[in-house]
C-alpha cells in the first residue's frame, strides 16, 4: 500500500467522519451532537468526491449538512430538552448492545476482508453530473417520478402531523 495523496486524503476525511460520529455519541448537549454530525456529513461528502461522485457529494452537502441538519435543529428547538437530568440508559443494555455491535462489526469485517473486489478503470468522474442526469431521466424515470410522489406525500403528511390541531390532540 502506497501512501499516495489520495490515500492520505481518505485517511483524513475518514478520521473526521469517525470523530464526528464518536462525538455524536459522547456529547451531552443535543445541539452539540447535531453540530458534530455536520462534520460527519461533510466528511462523507468528501468520501463521495474520492469515489468519483461529485454530484452525490454536492447533494450530500445540500440535503444532509443543509436540510436535514436544519430540520433536526428545528426539532430540537421546538421540543424541550433537559440534557443534564435525562435518565441514563441501563448499563447492561449499553454493554450488551455494544458487544452485539462489536460482534456484528467483526462478522461484517470478516466479510469485507475476504471480499476480493477487482478494480477496473471507470469513466465515472468524466461528466459525472451528465451521466447521472442521463440515467435518471431515461433508465430510472419511473422511480424518479415515484420519488417525487413520495416527497409530496411526505410533505403533506408532515404538515398534517405537525399542525397544531386541538381536536387531534384530544384524541391522542
Amino acid at each position: 500500500m502506497t501512501f499516495s495523496g489520495e490515500f492520505l486524503a481518505f485517511m483524513g476525511i475518514a478520521l473526521v467522519a469517525i470523530i464526528g460520529g464518536v462525538l455524536l455519541l459522547n456529547l451531552t448537549k443535543v445541539v452539540h451532537m447535531v453540530v458534530a454530525l455536520i462534520f460527519t456529513f461533510v466528511a462523507i461528502a468528501g468520501i463521495y468526491v474520492l469515489l468519483s461522485a461529485e454530484f452525490v457529494a454536492a447533494v450530500q452537502i445540500l440535503i444532509y449538512s443543509g436540510a436535514i441538519t436544519i430540520i433536526m435543529l428545528f426539532g430540537i428547538m421546538l421540543t424541550k430538552h433537559d440534557d443534564e437530568n435525562e435518565p441514563k440508559t441501563g448499563k447492561w443494555r449499553k454493554i450488551l448492545v455494544f458487544l452485539g455491535i462489536v460482534g456484528f462489526a467483526f462478522a461484517v469485517y470478516i466479510g469485507i476482508y475476504n471480499f476480493n473486489i477487482e478494480q477496473v478503470s471507470t469513466a465515472l468522474h468524466e461528466n459525472n453530473t451528465m451521466q447521472i442526469g442521463k440515467a435518471l431521466y431515461s433508465k430510472y424515470i419511473i422511480p424518479f417520478e415515484l420519488t417525487s410522489v413520495l416527497l409530496l406525500a411526505a410533505l403533506v403528511g408532515s404538515i398534517i402531523l405537525a399542525k397544531n390541531e386541538k381536536k387531534g390532540a384530544d384524541n391522542e
Partner: protein
C-alpha cells in the same frame, strides 16, 4: 485507478453504520435516535457509491441509488420529525422511554 482499496471505504461505512446503530439503540433522546438513523443511512450510501466505482462492472447506478436513498431519507426525516413534534405535544417529552403506547 485509485490507490485506496474498496475495503477501506467499506470499513469506514461499517464503522459509521455501527456508530449510528449504537446511537439508535441506546440514546434516550428521540431526536438523537432519528439523527443516528440518518447516519446509518449515510453509511449505506457510502457502500452504494463505493460499489458504483469498484467491482467488475462499475456503473452509475450506484450513485443514482444513493440519490434515491438521500431523497427518501430526507422525506423520512421530515415525517419523523413531524411525528416527533405531534407526540411531544401530547407527552411533553422526547424521552424514548415514555413512548411505549405499543405496550397498552
Amino acid at each position: 485507478m485509485s490507490s485506496v482499496p474498496a475495503s477501506a471505504f467499506l470499513a469506514l461505512a461499517l464503522i459509521l453504520f455501527c456508530i449510528g446503530l449504537y446511537g439508535a439503540l441506546t440514546k434516550r433522546n428521540t431526536v438523537i435516535v432519528l439523527i443516528s438513523i440518518e447516519l446509518m443511512l449515510n453509511a449505506v450510501n457510502i457502500n452504494l457509491v463505493t460499489f458504483s466505482k469498484y467491482g467488475m462492472a462499475p456503473s452509475i447506478t450506484g450513485q443514482v441509488f444513493a440519490l434515491f436513498a438521500i431523497s427518501v431519507a430526507a422525506a423520512e426525516a421530515a415525517v419523523g420529525l413531524a411525528i416527533l413534534i405531534s407526540l411531544y405535544r401530547t407527552k411533553k417529552t422526547v424521552n424514548i422511554d415514555e413512548m411505549d403506547t405499543m405496550k397498552n
